[in-house]
Subunit: 365 residues, 2 copies
């Protein structure tokens, strides 16, 4: 086998990265642009790295058409550190916050917020229904005095996604978009802060992208630990200390790839098509495949379903792996199958999967 042959990688994250991006990173490994250095070996204060950082920032700005009063910051620590940074920066000790919980990631965000001093109101909790759906806008009663509303736009484990941008009716919206950022156009005006661990749609793990509105930034209190203070990152061009230089570089390349593809409008169409193909295979299987999420809440990024028995789930994954498709096993907490089809996951892989699903159902149904 060609030692560079690629598999169809349905991993939920870290997930697939566009092959042309990896090829470029490979080719530039020993010497970026004739510098005689890898990007990993460059001072983050050098002109060449500052250009790399600007390039990545501009990529995200362009793709999401960000207005000038939004900053793009590169942090570390993943979404999990954001779960703490958000309340530390924006939940006053005498104030309160609203959390919309539609899955395990939202739950974790609540747990971290509760370690802080202000109030945490869970205004929607999907746990009682086993995380099968997301609320309509009309179902949510936002506290008008909340410091912010937090929600998770896509939940990877159960495979739930909001199909709309939440409206805070004046209350700042903070969104964990780790698993669907840059996958479709959004109405940025609705958001005060969007954060995302990079390892699904942006690049490798170890970088967190934060998009934050100046107005919100100004509310951060003084005296926070330097590395937990958004303002410090904004004032120092994301470099109060050494950033994850490799990760920022890869994000720039991924954004370039996405822009060449036509940006979020194009990728949204492709993502919708990919997801529709798998959901169609589920829905037309006469109940052999059972979708996990309620139809209106189905994720375009993580398609979750199960087979008639856990044994068949296992057989499905094993045989799929042998057929060149890896990472299909559902999260241990819910079992079943999860096919994560982020931006970089190719349509040919989805075609392979739905063919396999039809064959497997015919043989085992």
């Amino acid at each position: 086998m060609n030692k560079e042959a690629r598999i169809f990688n349905f991993s939920s994250g870290p997930g697939v990265i566009p092959t042309p991006v990896l090829e470029r990173a490979r080719d530039e490994m020993l010497s970026l642009n004739g510098s005689g250095m890898s990007v990993m070996e460059m001072s983050h204060r050098s002109e060449i790295f500052e250009e790399i950082l600007s390039f990545a920032e501009q990529g995200i700005r362009d793709i999401l058409a960000l207005p000038n009063d939004y900053r793009v910051l590169f942090l570390q620590g993943g979404a999990s550190l954001q779960f703490s940074m958000v309340p530390l920066n924006f939940l006053p000790s005498d104030g309160s916050s609203d959390y919309v919980v539609t899955g395990v990631w939202g739950e974790k965000a609540v747990n971290e917020a509760r370690k802080c001093r202000g109030g945490v109101n869970v205004i929607y909790d999907g746990k009682r229904d086993g995380y099968r759906t997301v609320p309509d806008q009309g179902e949510l009663r936002v506290s008008s005095d909340a410091a912010y509303i937090h929600y998770t736009s896509n939940e990877t484990i159960d495979g739930l996604e909001f199909s709309y941008d939440l409206d805070g009716a004046g209350v700042p919206i903070i969104c964990d978009a780790s698993s669907n950022i840059l996958s479709k156009p959004i109405d940025i005006s609705r958001y005060a802060l969007i954060y995302a661990g990079a390892q699904k749609n942006l690049g490798p793990s170890g970088v967190t992208v934060v998009i934050i509105k100046d107005e919100l930034l100004e509310r951060a209190p003084a005296g926070l630990p330097t590395l937990l203070d958004y303002r410090n990152f904004a004032e120092n061009n994301s470099m109060p200390n050494t950033p994850n230089t490799w990760g920022v570089y890869l994000i720039g390349l991924v954004c370039e790839w996405l822009k060449e593809l036509g940006g979020v409008t194009s990728i949204a169409k492709i993502n919708a098509e990919k997801a529709a193909m798998i959901y169609e295979a589920i829905d037309s299987s006469d109940g052999f495949y059972i979708g996990r999420a309620k139809r209106s809440a189905r994720s375009r990024m993580n398609v979750t379903f199960q087979l008639p028995t856990a044994e068949l789930d296992g057989k499905f994954c094993t045989q799929a792996e042998a057929a060149g498709m890896s990472g299909l096993r559902g999260h241990r907490s819910v079992g079943g199958i999860r096919s994560s089809i982020y931006n970089a996951f190719p349509k040919t892989g989805v075609e392979r999967l739905v063919d396999f699903m039809a064959d497997f159902a015919a043989t085992n149904g």
Copy 2:
């Protein structure tokens, strides 16, 4: 020019990475070990990634001969986040800590500790002398009731290094070894916690290695933010959330490279030779080159010196760059020249530099 031709890279960090490590990372970029995936695309919960993490951990354990009651953890956020995590975990609100400050990094650690509740005693402050030296053990009056003593084993900006392992006389020693970890043998029994941003001697930026003794770990309080709680990393094999998978992979490769070279005993000898060559060039220049650090505190990692005028400093750097040596400009706060010669910096590069120094002095002296 060969597009993969390498320069002599004296960058203070992120710094040079062993070329064979970069070559291997390049060759495995599209498919690690026939997996059909880049290491960046793998689930951190996969068996293959768990092996990568164990390999990196074992590399550090082997090189430093760590006893079983020390853990090796991989975090994010660099040394700067450690400046906060250390007091948040180990400085009780009714307790106090001792800090030995021999440079800007130690100063920053103090500033972050002062945002916490417990007391912060600076038991040595080199600032009054412009950070030219480090204290002898005998000069330090450690508070017997301190929760810990913190020091920086190598300061990159002024080029100062401790030539000995500090003795806490029963008080736990916490050491920021970002810029000299794995550069020489240490007496691990003296340390309760050693931390290091990876981007000098370990790998790329975006990973922090923490070596911590179980005994200290047990002192951490409950209720900390999950991502700021060392115990949470220890209990979850460094993966309470997605780690910087690429960075951990590179650290494993760097450790393998170092072990093949003969480990810390061998590299210490090489490092001493490299540094001695440059210091000898300084000392034999009849005062044309003036070393910054007091002789007993001279760093083997960052050799700092200056020329008779700032103009000559600039000319030196420009001509060196043209001769294939980059990153020699001193930190903006102190000026002059800084040649950072971490583990991976080749002796041939030092030879080139000292030849250049002789020529430059002859022409401009």
